[in-house]
Symmetry: C2
């Protein structure tokens, strides 16, 4: 992937935003991006995506980025946040988002081709945001 391709893939344009999480010594731990899930008449619902570096797993980085995304969306006035595609096999993520108030709206069957498990479901997850 070229730098331009990476920019296009991960760097949000306004009103969306991309952030990185770093340790105190400046080591990159992960990144999150957030913005409207749909244009126009669906733009009051936010979505977000997350990456955590392999070295930083199981240290609460995903949870911290998730909380950041919820705070950001609340401040921006979004009414809810929706994740479109949480792999059923990513049980850590599914449980984390449930702990952060998300519910599973539905599961798209066999929609993710897991390298280790073959085709597994993708959870659509959602939570309202209090004002």
């Amino acid at each position: 992937m070229s730098l331009d391709e990476a920019r296009s893939w991960w760097l949000e344009t306004p009103p969306g935003v991309t952030v990185v999480a770093c340790s105190d010594d400046g080591t990159l731990l992960g990144s999150a991006k957030a913005g409207p899930n749909r244009p126009g008449r669906g733009s009051h619902v936010a979505t977000a995506s997350f990456m955590v570096t392999a070295a930083a797993r199981r240290r609460g980085v995903g949870r911290a980025l998730g909380k950041w995304a919820l705070d950001w969306a609340r401040e921006q006035g979004y009414a809810a946040m929706q994740f479109n595609a949480v792999a059923a096999t990513n049980t850590v993520a599914v449980a984390r988002w449930q702990e952060l108030g998300f519910t599973v709206i539905g599961i798209v069957p066999e929609a993710f081709d897991s390298a280790s498990h073959g085709r597994v479901g993708l959870h659509v997850m959602h939570r309202h945001l209090e004002a």
Copy 2:
């Protein structure tokens, strides 16, 4: 909307495709676009979007375009088709897609700001495609 914006919004790039439906005398009746719903390990599931001109409503154009999209996706080897956002108030579309074999995977609450009904649910709809 400028022509470039319209192109960017509606004209798919490969492997996606955009088509128009015309009457025998060449009048534009509607348009459909189809392609992968997600990149990478989700790209075996297709999605599609549809527009029908106001003058052509209730003449089966949406159904014909839906059947075209299913045939196209089958020919391209997709395993399933997913619609991400069918407004709950668009009962004609919800019923049409159910007749064409789609089921409602889930409903994202209050995710579409209908001009006439306020915030209503968005149906996520899905069907497998036989080989």
